[in-house]
């Protein structure tokens, strides 16, 4: 935390800023911080923890499936494990991990001192953490969700699943949905209002595009699943009949509501990952991304199309052929934006000069996995072929190539890439390469044969299988691959822990990267930017060398804003400075509100109206204090430094 590393601003000014922005020391500060960097790191660590938990669940299942007819796990235990594996990886790992990166990086990428709503940001994290704990409390109770992450009714109606397993699932997802919606709203507003002056939309990093589209999608999609879960909970505990045919309900209603959410959500899990690659890969190719505009447009159009393909999860439900044909065609079309991105990355590598650093390996590996996952997706888009492929291991292979390939590989690459920024130290390069090759080989050993056993007809979501299917040998290989992949994750963990204290000191810009976050010290000071930069291009730190335009960004001269905890708010379209935003100080309110919600949901879980009421009262009071009038923004002209 050396203030001296920042050029330009006098030391006493920087001291003053530091005092204003630094989180309070001790336990209070630890609980009350609203610093986006601290919250981002928390997101990353928590999500990484859930990755490991979900991974351990997967490994347990792989032992059971290594040979036909094994009896390590009871069917019930297996069903709980595969359900929690899906829930954990998709809800508790994949999106929060990306939120972590975005939380940490957005203000740094955009040239802002914090997110638009720092306290909402903290609330979003606390709710995520408590929702994760809520979902995992089911484990010690022995009643983890057991209906799959897709949780199809009526198998999950009370009649067929009388425990609290599914209540934990449905309430947990509603709870987590609050975190997602709050976080997404925060990203959208941050983008609109808290960019540095001059950061027009055509200068946004692709990661920002990715997270933005994902956030907008979340705002539209998450309510669908929250509603679906709420209706299910009502069906189970208040004997409504939204999904039960006995009362005129419709089982397919769940599938529509779930996939209207589920499919866009899958894109929300991969677009920020693709953004990480689009931003970081060019650094190691020593040139800007080829076809920035195309990639940005393809990101947005993927998301828009992503809302029109949910029925391809329901090809076998007996919907009319005309509808199926439409959704099948739409599912083919969505391959086009992805193809654009792939071609852009290959063109970037082709025309650039690759540096074989660990992050580059992950990003290049990602491109290949993306293609494999993409073409298997292309096969499932074909309605006729999908009637055979769906619910076999081919789909398992497809979704793991997509989700691990497009989420985990960029994320691990991203960890290697931004680790120096976050900690100030480099990760070990040799260990990094070992990590990559272990993970890459393990991954393909584990998941490529799944295509084959899928084509051989092995159904998904089975706790055991018959030797007659002839897939025993492949499954053994898959289980071996899974453990190899896990070993890679272990190496990563070791590298992270060792490098935190023993890694080489990084300096502000160890990769010679072009974007704003590399203009500040590593790790960045609490106030991010001593002065608010003014942006003139997509590559503020490469401007002199690329010399694309005569304009230059001003990074060390600009608004100081040292009258309090302040940052600048811009006009939405032109990115002109508009107002000075007063940012909130450390606050326990987010934690208290999240705790209150935890109480409400616990009350709902056990249908205890007193607990529910107490939680609601508590949360209401906290929100009342939160919303008490405060000086939000000032219109006074900012002072300019330099």
């Amino acid at each position: 935390m050396t203030i001296e590393a920042v050029q330009g601003l006098p030391a006493n000014e920087r001291r003053r800023l530091f005092d204003i922005w630094e989180t309070a020391p001790g336990l209070y500060g630890w609980l009350a911080t609203v610093d986006h960097k601290k919250i981002g790191i928390r997101y990353l660590c928590t999500a990484f923890f859930f990755l490991i938990v979900g991974g351990v669940e997967a490994l347990t299942m792989r032992i059971q499936l290594a040979q036909p007819g094994l009896k390590l796990l009871s069917p019930e235990a297996y069903n709980q494990l595969f359900s929690m594996h899906g829930v954990t990886m998709i809800f508790l790992y994949a999106l929060p991990m990306l939120s972590g990166f975005s939380n940490y990086l957005w203000p740094l990428l955009l040239g802002s001192r914090d997110m638009a709503f720092p306290r909402l940001n903290a609330l979003s994290y606390w709710v995520y953490l408590f929702a994760g704990i809520f979902l995992y409390i089911s484990f010690p109770l022995g009643q983890a969700p057991n209906g799959g992450w897709f949780n199809y009714v009526p198998n999950t109606e009370l009649q067929y699943d009388p425990g609290i397993n599914i209540d934990i699932y449905s309430l947990g997802l509603i709870f987590l949905g609050i975190s997602t919606v709050v976080g997404s709203a925060n990203f959208v507003v941050t983008l609109l209002r808290c960019r540095a002056p001059g950061m027009s939309v055509n200068r946004l990093p692709i990661l920002v595009w990715g997270t933005l589209t994902a956030s907008v999608a979340n705002l539209l999609a998450v309510p669908a699943v929250s509603l679906a879960c709420f209706l299910l909970w009502m069906d189970r505990r208040y004997y409504t009949h939204f999904y039960a045919i006995s009362g005129g309900g419709q089982p397919l209603l769940w599938q529509h509501l779930f996939w209207v959410f589920g499919h866009p959500w899958v894109y929300a899990l991969v677009l920020p990952g693709m953004g990480i690659v689009s931003d970081a890969l060019p650094v190691f190719c020593r040139r800007p991304l080829v076809g920035y505009t195309l990639v940005a447009i393809s990101t947005v159009s993927t998301m828009i199309l992503g809302f029109g393909v949910w029925v391809h999860h329901m090809f076998a439900t007996g919907l009319p052929i005309v509808a199926l044909s439409f959704f099948s065609a739409a599912s083919f079309v969505i391959a086009i934006p992805s193809a654009i991105a792939v071609f852009a990355w290959i063109a970037t590598i082709w025309t650039g000069r690759p540096q074989f650093k660990t992050p580059f390996l992950f990003f290049a590996g990602f491109v290949l996995l993306f293609v494999i996952g993409g073409v298997s997706g292309f096969m499932t888009a074909s309605v006729a072929l999908d009637w055979q492929l769906t619910d076999t291991y081919f789909i398992v292979a497809h979704l793991h190539y997509v989700l691990l390939g497009i989420n985990v590989f960029p994320v691990v690459g991203g960890i290697h890439f931004w680790f120096p920024k976050i900690t100030g130290r480099m990760m070990d390069e040799r260990l990094g390469k070992w990590t990559f090759w272990t993970m890459f080989v393990g991954f393909n050993l584990a998941f490529f044969p799944m295509h084959l056993i899928g084509l051989m007809g092995m159904p998904r979501r089975v706790y055991t299988y018959s030797a007659e299917l002839g897939v025993g040998g492949y499954n053994l290989l898959i289980s071996f691959g899974a453990f190899l992949f896990a070993a890679g994750i272990l190496l990563l963990l070791i590298n992270i822990i060792r490098s935190r204290t023993e890694g080489a000191v990084a300096g502000p810009n160890p990769w010679d990267a072009p974007t704003l976050e590399w203009s500040v010290s590593s790790p960045p000071p609490p106030y991010n930017f001593a002065v608010i930069p003014v942006i003139a291009s997509r590559h503020p730190l490469w401007e002199d060398r690329l010399d694309e335009t005569p304009d230059r960004s001003t990074i060390h001269r600009g608004l100081v804003l040292d009258e309090g905890k302040e940052t600048v708010g811009i006009t939405v379209l032109d990115a002109e400075p508009d107002v000075i935003l007063k940012m909130p100080a450390d606050s326990l309110l987010p934690l208290l509100a999240a705790l209150g919600m935890m109480v409400i949901f616990s009350g709902m879980l056990f249908i205890n109206y007193w607990v529910m009421a107490a939680g609601a009262l508590w949360t209401g009071l906290v929100l009342l204090v939160w919303l008490a009038p405060r000086d939000h923004a000032s219109t006074e002209r900012p002072t300019v430094y330099g």
């Binding site: 045919i245 006995s246 009362g247 005129g248």
Partner: protein
């Protein structure tokens, strides 16, 4: 006290007639609406009531006219008799000579009451002690719908599937025949029917997956002469050379097997628990068969012959002459057990020998009783399951939206399982040419559940909620007059509860009926105007009779004791308590009086109890 009762009754009669539907313009000079007539064969002497329907044709018409529209308002209770049983009382007392015969619901105790003495005076009683297991096997209360008198014997069915004959003079058991196995769910609740020197009995248990039958027993010995099943191969159904149904779809070999999924007919029900009628001229008995089993139609595709149908059989051999299925593939438990009233009437100017049948499916059929051709089929109350009637094929047209599917709730099917008219028999008056019948005004919410056949348990699967056609506070029943030749309702008296009592008509141009909430009413046979009403101790689901006592007075008698299917209304406000009492009415309540001094030497009633 009595005058107070009368005043109240009068006031009520007036009030009730005010709420009754305005009668249509009365036909000029009291000519018969339909021109229908009946033979009244099999009726006893003028003042007697010797069988449940009084005659073979099932008219429930008495030629007595001492009580008439002019004086019925002075009708008062003459005497009462309580038998102490609690289950629903559905039968009509019989009056033969100077004795009245009455049999209680389970435990089916028979009483003979001496009418020459101040009543009630028990001549004898008889306790048959049927098995209590039967209580839990009877679908709709442990009832008995009647008893027969023939050749000096009182013959009736016991709930545990036996038929017993008792000496009418002494109350001694003469014979007892085991007709079926109660452990398999077979009970017997119908009234035995005596004609042609035989007694005809049938079984109940259509909800229990029984195999339905009608049997003829020798009156003297109880020996079974023949037994005709409703389902199964032709040899079991007693279908042979002489069988000639009118409609082609009912012709063919072994239809009682081929219209069922493999072997399902064994448990296909088609029991017979309604009233039988007899045409001595053509030598034919007519009776209906119950719903198919299981009640869930999804489990038994096909027409399910010969359930929910009517048979015309030769009483000597049991061979069927014709049959007609009212509700093919009965999906709502509509049954076809309701009685046939045998009338001759002009239809389209031509005199026809017909039978009139109010089916639970809400069609009132006028059928040529010589060959089974449907001449008239019209709705006598509200229904929505059928969109019309195909006179060509003789089949109702079913609304596919109201066909139940397992697990899927249908919100409103009208009528419900018990129809818009259940077993409660109508009356016919040759003066008006009308039939008088208690009807319902109800619907059901229905959810079917697929069901296992487990012997001795219900083979049922219908989950129902019943409610009025007219919504939450609507009426559940009514009493109507029906013109069978034109298929038209002539008048209607709305009632708050389902009308489940039988009706009688008299030469005094009166019709009598009772209500579930305990009103016993007399109405003008022409206009439906209520002329007299009396509230009784429990609901009336039995059948009234009228007779001339040894003292020459005309009496009207009816047993109260709510129960049976009427219990579906038990949670409604105003539903009466159970408890069986026979009420006998006369003008001003006059009756044979006790001797001046209570005699200590009066003979103790003879009792006969099998040990």
């Amino acid at each position: 006290m009595r005058s107070l009762f009368g005043a109240v009754g009068l006031a009520f009669a007036w009030a009730s007639s005010a709420i009754a539907q305005a009668p249509p313009p009365a036909p000029s000079a009291h000519t018969s609406y339909s021109g229908a007539s009946a033979t009244f064969d099999g009726a006893g002497k003028r003042g007697e009531w010797t069988s449940q329907a009084r005659d073979y044709a099932n008219t429930r018409y008495s030629p007595l006219n001492q009580i008439n529209a002019g004086n019925v308002a002075t009708l008062k209770i003459a005497w009462t008799f309580s038998d102490g049983t609690q289950y629903g009382h559905e039968g009509a007392p019989l009056v033969v000579g100077d004795t009245m015969y009455l049999v209680t619901p389970y435990p089916n105790i028979a009483y003979a009451l001496d009418l020459t003495k101040p009543s009630p005076s028990i001549k004898w009683s008889f306790q048959p002690n049927p098995s209590p297991t039967a209580i839990g096997k009877a679908c709709c209360d442990a009832v008995l719908r009647g008893w027969a008198y023939a050749d000096g014997k009182l013959i009736y069915n016991l709930l545990d599937a036996h038929t017993v004959a008792v000496d009418a003079q002494t109350g001694k058991e003469l014979w007892r025949a085991k007709m079926d196995d109660v452990d398999k769910g077979v009970t017997m609740t119908m009234s035995a029917f005596a004609a042609d020197g035989k007694v005809f009995v049938g079984n109940s248990g259509g909800e229990m997956g029984v195999n339905g039958w009608l049997a003829a027993l020798d009156i003297g010995t109880g020996k079974e002469l023949w037994r005709a099943h409703a389902v199964g191969p032709d040899k079991d159904v007693l279908i042979g050379q002489g069988f000639n149904p009118f409609y082609p779809w009912m012709k063919g070999k072994d239809l009682g097997v081929t219209t069922w999924p493999a072997d399902m007919w064994h448990t296909g029900a088609g029991s017979s628990w309604g009233f039988i009628s007899y045409d001595p001229e053509q030598k034919l008995v007519f009776y209906g068969t119950s719903n198919p089993g299981p009640r869930v139609p999804a489990q038994r595709p096909g027409d399910n012959l010969w359930t929910s149908a009517m048979f015309a059989r030769d009483p000597a051999t049991g061979q069927a002459k014709w049959a007609y299925q009212f509700t093919p593939h009965d999906q709502w438990d509509y049954d076809g057990i309701n009685e046939a009233v045998l009338l001759d009437m002009p239809i389209d100017g031509k005199m026809q020998k017909t039978l009139v049948h109010f089916d639970r499916n809400t069609y009132a059929y006028t059928i040529d009783r010589t060959n089974g051709e449907v001449l008239v089929a019209k709705n006598f109350a509200y229904q929505n399951w059928s969109t019309g009637f195909d006179m060509k094929t003789g089949r109702p047209i079913v609304d596919p939206a109201l066909e139940p599917k397992p697990g899927v709730k249908l919100d409103r099917v009208c009528p419900p399982d018990i129809g818009q008219k259940d077993w409660e028999p109508p009356a016919f008056s040759p003066n008006t040419g009308l039939l008088y019948v208690g009807v319902f005004n109800i619907c059901m919410g229905l959810t079917d559940h697929e069901v296992s056949y487990i012997p001795g348990t219900p083979y049922d699967g219908m989950e129902m909620q019943r409610f009025s056609v007219d919504g939450k506070d609507g009426n559940w029943g009514g009493f109507i007059a029906w013109d069978p030749a034109h298929g038209k309702k002539v008048w209607e008296i709305p009632e708050k509860f389902m009308v489940m009592s039988g009706a009688i008509a008299t030469a005094g141009d009166l019709v009598f009926y009772g209500t579930t909430d305990g009103w016993f009413r007399a109405a003008d046979a022409w206009t439906g105007k209520i002329l007299w009403s009396q509230k009784l101790g429990s609901g009336v689901i039995g059948q009234p009779i009228t007779y001339t006592g040894p003292d020459g007075r005309q009496y009207v008698a009816v047993a109260t004791g709510v129960g049976g299917a009427a219990m579906v209304q038990k949670s409604r406000a105003g539903f009466p308590p159970r408890g069986n009492t026979l009420y006998v009415f006369s003008l001003n309540g006059d009756a044979i009086q006790a001797p001046e001094s209570p005699s200590s030497g009066s003979t103790a009633p003879a009792t006969a109890t099998p040990q």
